[in-house]
Symmetry: C2
Subunit: 150 residues, 2 copies
């Protein structure tokens, strides 16, 4: 099955905590561990990745912690997942540009289309912001119209 890693799931869970607290709220790793029910080491590890990717900004030392570096409406699921799990790509063929020969590329007549498919999935996730995540789309049968966030 197509699966998200647990850590990416944790990443989203953590980011939604920030989103719910609103822009400017600061949480330490241990704060979030108790809030989320996840283990401290795991929270630490995940926050570091989110921070490295620029989604959170960090402050060291006493009273330090993390906070969103952008508004919740400007952070997409695609970014959170990519921050934790790496680039979103269904097949290995398209992970890095060149030099990545899957060995059957000469037999692979559909290779050209994979890029398009990957983009379609990526766009699906890029169309969902943290803001949308924290307010359940009540009664919605499908996703609301996507506004691309540059």
């Amino acid at each position: 099955m197509i699966r998200l890693t647990k850590q990416a799931d944790y990443g989203i869970l953590l980011m939604t905590q920030f989103a719910r607290a609103g822009m400017g709220a600061v949480f330490s790793a241990s704060d979030l561990a108790s809030r989320s029910g996840l283990s401290l080491p795991m929270v630490n590890k995940t926050l570091k990745l989110l921070s490295r990717a620029g989604l959170l900004s960090s402050q060291r030392g006493v009273n330090g912690g993390y906070q969103m570096s952008r508004d919740a409406g400007a952070i997409t699921l695609e970014e959170v997942i990519a921050a934790v799990d790496g680039p979103i790509a269904l097949t290995e063929c398209h992970e890095h540009g060149a030099g990545n020969d899957c060995g059957i590329s000469s037999h692979c007549p559909t290779r050209l289309n994979w890029g398009i498919i990957n983009d379609a999935l990526r766009d699906s996730l890029a169309g969902i912001t943290l803001l949308q995540m924290i307010r359940p789309f009540l009664g919605a049968k499908s996703l609301p119209a996507r506004e691309r966030v540059a």
Copy 2:
């Protein structure tokens, strides 16, 4: 990263071989192995899954083999992937209905939305047929309008 298993990739590769040969074409596993450049055992294993899922029908014995049980335009990527990899679900929470407690569900404020997100991705894949796979959408920047295939 979000990743398709190699075997699912193989499944799609094999199905496109059938699609290109057109409805009614019969291939044996060894035929496909040499055509695709994949190992015979792997091709065997994958064809069995596709057959079990009803995408291919099989004929045993001498001159036997596999053929598409539906037209290429009526088989979607979603079906092929599900046949090989199992149901498409980003998170474990929604794989089976009940009795699947992730342990943090009480802390998981976004759980309700995962169903919607999973559906969005599934629809993306369900909107791409084998027929579309074998004729590259020349110059297309995005996917053509999706026609739901029941």
